[in-house]
């Protein structure tokens, strides 16, 4: 029974990964791609590891849980650093974007 539930959770994780990667290919600029790819792929891989925990249990499940917690901590941090680096290096936003609060903040700092 636990094996079937594990396979179902792993299937959900693979579906999230697939949608995130479709977003990585289809979305128009770097910030939208970060939005699509990082969140979906983080949750998808965490669901795969959670499925390993449900499927197998034991020492392998404990290591999978550790790895899932680690990915949940580090992947948003990496995406945040990457968005900041891209904005500071002057990559333009997509022309359909409606606001750029980070550029406003940086201009305000210059005025001070």
């Amino acid at each position: 029974m636990s094996e079937i539930i594990g396979i179902v959770v792993i299937s959900m994780g693979v579906a999230f990964d697939l949608f995130g990667c479709i977003g990585l290919v289809r979305l128009p600029d770097i910030y939208n791609r970060l939005q699509g790819a990082t969140k979906c792929v983080t949750l998808g891989t965490c669901l795969i590891l959670l499925g390993v925990l449900i499927h197998s249990g034991g020492a392998m499940g404990a290591k999978a849980l550790l790895c899932a917690i680690f990915i949940l901590l580090t992947s948003p941090t990496g995406a945040h650093a990457l968005a900041r680096g891209a904005h500071k290096s002057g990559v333009k936003l997509w022309e359909g974007s409606v606001m750029d609060k980070y550029a406003d903040d940086k201009e305000g700092e210059l005025d001070r």
Partner: protein
């Protein structure tokens, strides 16, 4: 199970497309980061199929090295200017 692995390989090819065709260097870095996270999922699949526990050690190490690589590339991109 084999269908799930084929779908995950398809995801990896989409990331490779973004690494190859991304117009700016941060786009390629997003592809590398996503590919690193997908490889952790592959290690989990391999651990289930073969039943060997030490593949999860590989997954943990790979997640750590991928995070360090992403942070290093982001700090590297921060100091340079890219036009379109």
């Amino acid at each position: 199970m084999i269908v799930l692995i084929i779908l995950l390989v398809l995801c990896c090819f989409m990331c490779l497309y973004r690494i190859g065709a991304g117009p700016t260097p941060p786009d390629r870095t997003v592809g590398i980061d996503t590919l690193g996270t997908l490889v952790v999922g592959f290690c989990a699949f391999t651990a289930i199929i073969t039943g060997k526990e030490w593949y999860m050690n590989v997954a943990i190490s790979w997640a750590l090295l991928s995070f360090i690589g992403t942070i290093a590339l982001a700090k590297f991109l921060e100091g340079r200017g890219f036009d379109e």
